[in-house]
Symmetry: C2
Subunit: 324 residues, 2 copies
């Protein structure tokens, strides 16, 4: 492994794309210019090899998961990306070609989301590869979307399709059978390279009562809104939007509904808004309602009965946590 400063200079400094705030990565910290009328949003998510991504995952896909999970948190707050800092811990055995490919992977996110590297730290580790990314965004002052504003009578919406992340993890591990190769590839790609809903989040600013991104699993994340807002929810299982690949998987094995409801890594947005015209575009789906009082999230089947969900969402410390 080569010198830390060389690594930063060769592979990471270009990811600043010349943004003034990064000071060319030559200083101790980045300087974020104030944007009048806006406030900064800051979020940190870390991923560890063997826990959050497969040990043999490609550098491109590692960069994708890292950027997507953090950008999704900005999306959930209604923020536009400003940039990020990155702490990278490299095992001593990492070769420079891997680092170069990882930086190239990050570069596509830098460009696609106007999300330059602003600073960070590069260390070596005797353990697994690990990355911690801190994403910074801006949102109109006082307008950040939060988990706490859901009100009884609100409708519950989600973006995109649900369950592809959890099914995609199975697909990526070769544990999903009986569906076409195209569907396997679609789901694995949804797991490996999620799409953070930045523009959807921006469109929801000022339009919705509560918002979250679905990273732990639909039911668990809706539960976070319920707890923070002191409400409960009734979700119509049949209304949950599914991709064709997820539909095919469920036809093959209906027990996979648990994964759809409680698997993580969808990185779609879930939010509540007053009854009325849908607050956004056609990719939003009304899946249920907010009701008064504590009681958590009930998912109601076609017969009107609440489903029992076996698998309560991704939790890194739980003995049965899914391992990517």
């Amino acid at each position: 492994m080569t010198d830390e400063f060389d690594i930063i200079h060769r592979h990471f400094a270009p990811l600043t794309r010349g943004h003034d705030a990064a000071l060319g990565l030559t200083d101790d910290a980045a300087v974020l210019p104030p944007r009048p009328g806006f406030e900064h949003i800051v979020t940190t998510d870390a991923i560890v090899a063997g826990v959050h991504f497969l040990d043999n995952e490609s550098p491109d896909n590692i960069a994708a998961r890292l950027c997507a999970s953090n950008l999704s948190d900005l999306a959930a707050m209604g923020a536009a990306p400003v940039g990020f800092t990155l702490a990278a811990a490299w095992p001593k055995s990492t070769d420079e070609a891997f680092i170069e490919a990882f930086a190239a992977g990050l570069g596509t996110w830098v460009d696609d989301y106007a999300f330059p590297l602003l600073g960070g730290d590069t260390v070596s580790t005797p353990g697994p590869m690990m990355f911690s990314l801190t994403a910074i965004g801006t949102v109109e002052a006082g307008k950040a979307l939060k988990r706490s504003g859901a009100k009884p009578g609100d409708r519950v919406y989600v973006s995109g399709t649900i369950g592809d992340g959890g099914l995609g993890l199975l697909a990526a591990k070769g544990e999903l059978e009986g569906i076409s190769d195209e569907h396997i590839a679609f789901l694995a790609n949804r797991f490996r390279c999620p799409t953070p809903r930045i523009s959807t989040g921006r469109a929801l600013v000022g339009q919705v009562h509560a918002c979250i991104d679905i990273s732990d699993g639909l039911v668990q994340d809706l539960g976070h809104i319920c707890e923070t807002s002191a409400v409960s929810m009734r979700i119509d299982a049949a209304a949950i939007p599914l991709s064709d690949a997820a539909k095919a998987a469920l036809e093959c094995d209906p027990r996979l509904l648990d994964i759809v409801l409680a698997g993580g890594d969808d990185y779609e947005l879930a939010f509540t808004a007053p009854k009325g015209p849908s607050p956004g575009d056609a990719l939003l789906t009304d899946i249920g309602e907010v009701i008064a009082g504590a009681g958590g999230v009930s998912v109601i089947d076609a017969g009107g009965e609440p489903l029992k969900i076996e698998h309560s969402g991704f939790n890194h410390f739980a003995a049965d946590a899914p391992k990517a």
Copy 2:
């Protein structure tokens, strides 16, 4: 190990000290209120067990190193702390008492530096304990101290005493001999629990041309100013301020001067300012001058000859990097 959400709720949520920006750690991200006339400063530093701190280090001291290194970066930019996000990776064997003690250690820094926890991530790891902290500060818009403004004719100053960090690492490892137990304890404590120079940094805003904190080693960090400012420096070895403990160590073994000049972890500030009255308080020492042209940092001994420095500062990727 217990549940991730319980860990956050019990041990980390109190570290927000009720700061509005943290939203009680219940949301996807923190919201930083704008401060008119100021800009935000952001820096990320990571530490890994067995690389940046001793495997058997106390949770208090781990928290201290993590906070000090990041606050020192804010100090080097002239910023006042606003708060931080933390990514913590815990080995599965970590018991909750350790996490509780670590959080208590962080708490003293939260209170001493008005530096609340604003968000973050808690993950498990099959490898060593690792922390990545992102510190956020504010400084008057356009006034952040940088490495790039040094000018020929400037004097070079440092805060505090130099070399205690590098000598303290030796002391902490039991590798420093021939000096008193009090001196050993003093140096080990300077390594384990450095003092970031926040108030000094604040006082230098608008007063100095270039500033850096000494984390990699005096000569290497002054070299960063030289590179970024396209100047060189002549430092008077005899003028470098030493603690009594460092003086005693050097009397015992003059070869330790290399550690003083090139060992890391001092977390003092080094800066350049125009000739004239010292820009700050009595704890600042004039150690040399900025000269025109490239050529790096020369340290001149009592006989007027440049010293040869064997040990070129902490570099995590170098084969001979010091391991804490």
